[in-house]
């Protein structure tokens, strides 16, 4: 633990200060603070593109215990901006691991702060809502950090999807698979592609601003609108793409940001949540089957329930049992549906994987 002894500081936009010790890279990082209550899967979370730009508090006490492993990633790099923990662990025990979290964060240039009273911090964020923050293991000068904090952009109105979307088209899965899906990438998690590939789909993944006409050249049997970071209402190009795709009346499935974009394309507004849902334990009720599921969630924006009710063409399919927020919708005139949560999980429970089966079934039904 070479640099664990260095003091580090966390400054929130409302002036609150927390002290701790450095972890990962020595430096300064700023972004919007949020918390995740999951107790496993830190590496999958850190590499999830939907977390791009976030300063992430892990509520669970010890993080890093089982090291890191190349297979446990959701994209090719760490996507969070910084990490805040009670106890970041440099020593790990998993024989199958490739290395330590300390080395991993350092080589990914991620600044972390350990030894923070995260419980007090989470309660603070819960009361005050999401806000920007900076962490620093470089300077302890509050005034200097305050100046840096003002330069951190506001998440509201921010299009981050274009930052994490693939720069080049690529394919995934078996080219001879019976089903072809065109994937609009706004920051897709790797396991979403795997879940669809495992179910017999061959996919082509496109950069965020690709025109729909280009996707049509792939002759897809269905479209997938991916998860991703940022404010969906600041992505007019993406909303237009979804509208354009819907005209085709081919099966469409959206996850998280994709869900919000499907809503916006149907005139349903989105809003910034007080502090979002991030964790592996959120209960969702499927209103169609009556069954409930424990879900993985990661979103700071939501879709407006009243807006859904005002659109006679849109139906609520899933509800959050904690706060009754809209977790899933489907369209009546088109085989299109979406969920706010993460059926691919990684990390998290696999209860909702059936949604991929539903999507593949929908595609097959519409192929005949």
């Amino acid at each position: 633990m070479p640099n664990q002894q260095q003091p580090a500081i966390l400054l929130l936009a409302d002036g609150t200060v927390f002290h701790g010790k450095s972890f990962g890279k020595i430096g300064i990082a700023g972004g919007e603070i949020c918390f995740n209550t999951g107790m496993t899967g830190y590496q999958e979370v850190f590499t999830d593109p939907s977390y791009f730009g976030q300063m992430l508090i892990m509520n669970s006490v010890h993080v890093g215990n089982y090291g890191v492993k190349a297979e446990d990633t959701e994209s090719d790099s760490v996507k969070i901006k910084g990490v805040i923990c009670r106890s970041l662990e440099a020593k790990y025990s998993r024989p199958m691991a490739d290395g330590s979290l300390q080395d991993y964060l350092e080589s990914n240039n991620i600044v972390g702060i350990s030894g923070v009273d995260t419980r007090a911090l989470v309660i603070h964020v819960r009361h005050k809502g999401a806000m920007n923050c900076v962490i620093s293991s470089e300077t302890q000068e509050i005034e200097e950090l305050k100046a840096l904090l003002t330069k951190v952009p506001d998440m509201n109105g921010l299009d981050l999807a274009k930052e994490v979307s693939t720069k080049e088209e690529y394919t995934y899965g078996d080219p001879n698979a019976p089903i072809r899906i065109a994937v609009m990438d706004y920051g897709i998690k790797r396991n979403i592609l795997k879940c669809m590939s495992d179910r017999g789909a061959y996919m082509k993944v496109y950069p965020a601003k690709t025109p729909v006409s280009k996707l049509r050249e792939f002759n897809p049997n269905g479209y997938f609108i991916s998860n991703g970071p940022g404010d969906p209402s600041s992505m007019p190009y993406a909303i237009e793409s979804v509208k354009e795709i819907l005209k085709e009346k081919k099966p469409l499935f959206g996850i998280c940001l994709g869900h919000q974009l499907l809503a916006l394309a149907n005139g349903i507004p989105t809003f910034k949540m007080h502090n979002g849902h991030r964790g592996l334990n959120h209960p969702v009720k499927n209103l169609i089957t009556g069954r409930s599921e424990i879900s993985t969630q990661n979103h700071g924006f939501g879709i407006d329930a009243d807006g859904v009710k005002k659109n006679p063409n849109v139906e609520i399919t899933h509800l959050n049992l904690n706060d009754e927020s809209v977790e899933g919708i489907r369209l009546k005139d088109t085989p299109a549906f979406s969920v706010q949560y993460h059926p691919e999980a990684t990390p998290g429970p696999h209860d909702s994987r059936y949604l991929f089966d539903d999507f593949i079934k929908l595609i097959k039904e519409n192929m005949n």
Partner: protein, 548 residues
């Protein structure tokens, strides 16, 4: 499905006398269940032969019968009362066995009483070793390789095929009698003979011993709509080979990747759904090969278990209370979280603290008893500690054991050599944790300790950090000890008396207390709220810590 209104009067069966392996946990669950049912306007009648329990307090139930746990007693109760249903899952294996016996005699049917929260076939499947194995194999769930042997020769053949180390488990004996580990060829003959003789049908199960694999437990709740939630994950500090009741356990799991955890979660849910048609609590035990991360199922308990009580206290989720509500028809998604009162009861608790449970043995009261820990549970109680880190929790737990060690300290009167300690910790005994600490203090490496004990390296590294910290403290006297270090020591769970002992020179507990009080280092209280502070808690409970 909402509450079943045809159930107006319920009989709860208690667990009888306190014995090793079945103690006050079932008083806790029975009491919770009685309260939970009465909340619903249901009349609760209770039978227990043990009057020294909370559940038999007249305030807990509408009617209490202090009678022997026999079919005759039950029949008397059924004659005297209009009972609609019986809930036998709160009183451990004793209550389940009694309910099963009465079912076989047709008494429930005679009095038109329904069994709720249980499926008799599920009990059989979980209890009968052969049925259990075959069922899991059919489901495609891995179990340890094993063979049935009815003769010495068959036993030898089985041992040859399976290889050492292995376990001999005689059929139809109580509490693991006649069973044991066989490490090599030399031990086989005598242990095989002993096992075969112990079995009334001269039959043993020769099973591969997964010694050194890591052991885990999941506590689940399931409702009649087949919704399942994992309430708590528990990791055994001690690897396979020590009975869970005799193991130091930690919650949530500390060393499991999400991949391994989800494999366990999926497997647990699959077996629970397939086990039978019942709603309530269930406990599934796993072993995990740390090298390959393959898992096998060790045991399933389709009822509120000893671990359920621990899981309830560890998470704030009242398993028995909710299990009782599920038994009368409610679904998990219709109930509220009992701590927040606003969010759903259908969720999986998130912990922002660490729980450590340490068993308490009374070998000094059982003169001549073998104090080696193994397949049969020997502890008579346990302590549970909550801390903001593993080290704080384990220190607090050790302090609660009320022994001379004063936390995770050293208390042996004899000076052991490092080699002696390494040898000693190879065999699990009640004081192994203290001997590990002693060995680390003597400079024995983490690697050597891990090899000797097969305990996960993460835990030993944590303990080693504690030792490094302690050595640092030991350089100071009470007067020279820097305040920052004192504060850190309290966060690491050191007690005042423990610090007084570690510090140089003569120093008392009071002096440490005065020094830290003057510096403003005092306890703060943090909540057990089921949700890692995500939601506001209305009826939480608290633990003390030195953070913040």
């Amino acid at each position: 499905m909402p509450k079943d209104n045809s159930i107006k009067s319920v009989l709860i069966i208690g667990s009888g006398p306190i014995i090793i392996g079945q103690a006050c946990e079932f008083d806790y669950s029975g009491t919770q269940a009685a309260r939970s049912l009465r909340e619903e306007g249901i009349k609760v009648t209770l039978i227990n032969s043990n009057p020294a329990t909370i559940m038999t307090d007249p305030l807990m139930s509408d009617k209490v019968y202090l009678l022997p746990l026999t079919p005759e007693s039950i029949e008397k109760i059924l004659q005297e009362n209009d009972i609609d249903a019986v809930l036998p899952t709160m009183g451990g294996q004793t209550a389940l066995n009694l309910a099963k016996e009465i079912e076989e005699q047709g008494i429930w049917e005679k009095y038109n009483v329904r069994l709720i929260g249980v499926d008799i076939k599920a009990i059989d499947k979980a209890e009968d070793r052969d049925l259990f194995r075959n069922w899991l194999i059919e489901l495609g769930v891995p179990v340890a390789p094993a063979m049935i042997a009815n003769s010495f020769l068959e036993g030898k053949e089985a041992a040859q095929k399976i290889g050492f180390p292995l376990v001999i488990r005689p059929s139809f004996t109580l509490g693991g009698t006649g069973g044991g580990f066989v490490h090599n060829k030399e031990e086989l003959d005598s242990k095989l003979t002993y096992g075969l003789q112990a079995s009334p049908i001269h039959e043993v199960l020769v099973e591969q011993a997964v010694l050194g694999w890591k052991e885990y437990e999941l506590e689940l709740l399931r409702d009649s709509a087949d919704n399942v939630a994992i309430i708590c994950s528990i990791e055994n500090f001690d690897p396979m080979g020590v009975h869970t009741g005799d193991s130091i356990t930690v919650a949530p799991t500390m060393t499991l990747s999400d991949t391994a955890f989800q494999l366990m979660r999926n497997t647990a849910i699959e077996v629970m759904r397939d086990l039978g048609n019942f709603s309530g609590g269930c406990n599934v035990q796993f072993a995990l090969n740390p090298e390959t991360e393959e898992i096998i199922i060790i045991e399933i308990n389709p009822r509120v278990s000893r671990s359920s009580a621990l899981a309830s206290k560890a998470t704030g989720y009242p398993i028995a209370k909710i299990a009782a509500k599920l038994a009368i028809g409610y679904n998990l998604d219709e109930l509220k979280n009992q701590i927040t009162h606003t969010t759903s009861a259908y969720f999986e608790p998130a912990l922002d603290y660490v729980i450590v449970k340490i068993p308490r043995w009374n070998f000094d009261k059982f003169k001549g008893a073998d104090d080696t820990l193994g397949l049969q549970m020997k502890s008579v109680g346990e302590v549970m500690a909550i801390g903001r880190s593993f080290n704080e929790a384990i220190q607090k737990a050790c302090q609660s054991l009320e022994n001379k060690a004063l936390g995770l300290g050293i208390y042996s009167e004899k000076e052991y050599k490092a080699e002696e300690l390494i040898e000693y910790i190879k065999i699990p005994k009640w004081d192994r944790i203290f001997k590990i600490k002693e060995a680390l203090m003597r400079g024995v490496t983490v690697k050597t300790i891990c090899q000797a004990t097969r305990i996960d390296k993460w835990f030993i590294n944590q303990l080693n950090d504690l030792c490094i910290f302690e050595r640092n403290i030991a350089q100071y006297t009470i007067d020279t000890l820097p305040i920052e270090l004192l504060k850190e020591a309290k966060k690491e769970g050191f007690g005042d008396a423990q610090l007084a002992k570690v510090l140089q020179g003569k120093c008392t507990e009071d002096q440490v207390y005065e020094k830290r009080k003057a510096a403003g280092i005092t306890r703060v209280y943090k909540m057990v709220d089921t949700c890692s502070a995500e939601f506001e808690a209305k009826t939480p409970y608290f633990y003390s810590t030195f953070e913040g």
